[in-house]
Symmetry: C2
Subunit: 106 residues, 2 copies
DNA sequence: CCGTTAGTTCGACTATAGTCGAACTAACGG
DNA sequence: CCGTTAGTTCGACTATAGTCGAACTAACGG
């Protein structure tokens, strides 16, 4: 059961975090993850091909935004909220709040 | 005395803001601007050619991060702090705090 | 074992962003 | 007016990011 490498909290870069969150699709993934964790990739695909989705999860993983745990055949993703909070206090929380507020209510 | 167009506060996009701040040079400019406003472009150039610097200021301007006022021959830049705070509460403040903390002390 | 599920990796393509020199521009100073 | 200052615009280049189909992989279910 191969697992993923995740960068150490102390090695996270603010600019990489902001970059990872600056893509609307990734921001949306993060917003949805915040509502329900952990969650596999599949329900977050939003109609995109798996290879694209996989790429975006990889960006989020490398920026330290999410952790991915392999559980059987599914890959469970969760936000590294506490770690991000300790490294960049308030940043993720404020961005999540703004993302929620900017939500277009259907 | 031609002035610049600045996007309206209500039209600002979170992803554009994060994108604008995800470039290390631009983040540095914003960090320095926060310490001393308003400020012309020149002291923030950091050895780069003027055309590159101008490009980055333009990105920050279009994302709504800075306002540029033409005063005589210099262009005075300031952060749109209150507007960003009302649109995306806490976001810029948290990012600035993290940027300050991440400063490499010389 | 074999099929299925869930996701990754590869490779080719496209589009966009950043870089920088050169020419330009707008306002001031004398 | 003419030079200077401060920055913009243009254009060409390079590099990187995102997209997606195709082939692959790892674990489970029966």
């Amino acid at each position: 059961m191969k697992q993923y490498d995740h960068p150490l909290t102390q090695d996270l870069q603010l600019s990489c975090l902001l970059y990872a969150l600056s893509d609307p699709f990734r921001l949306e993934v993060v917003r949805k993850l915040a509502l329900c964790q952990p969650q596999p990739c599949a329900p977050l695909q939003d109609g995109r091909p798996k290879s694209s989705v996989s790429h975006h999860f990889s960006v989020l993983r490398k920026a330290g935004v999410i952790r991915t745990d392999v559980v059987g055949v599914t890959h469970m993703n969760s936000l590294r909220e506490q770690e991000l909070e300790s490294r960049f206090p308030g940043v993720l929380a404020a961005i999540l709040a703004a993302a929620r507020a900017g939500d277009v209510p259907a």
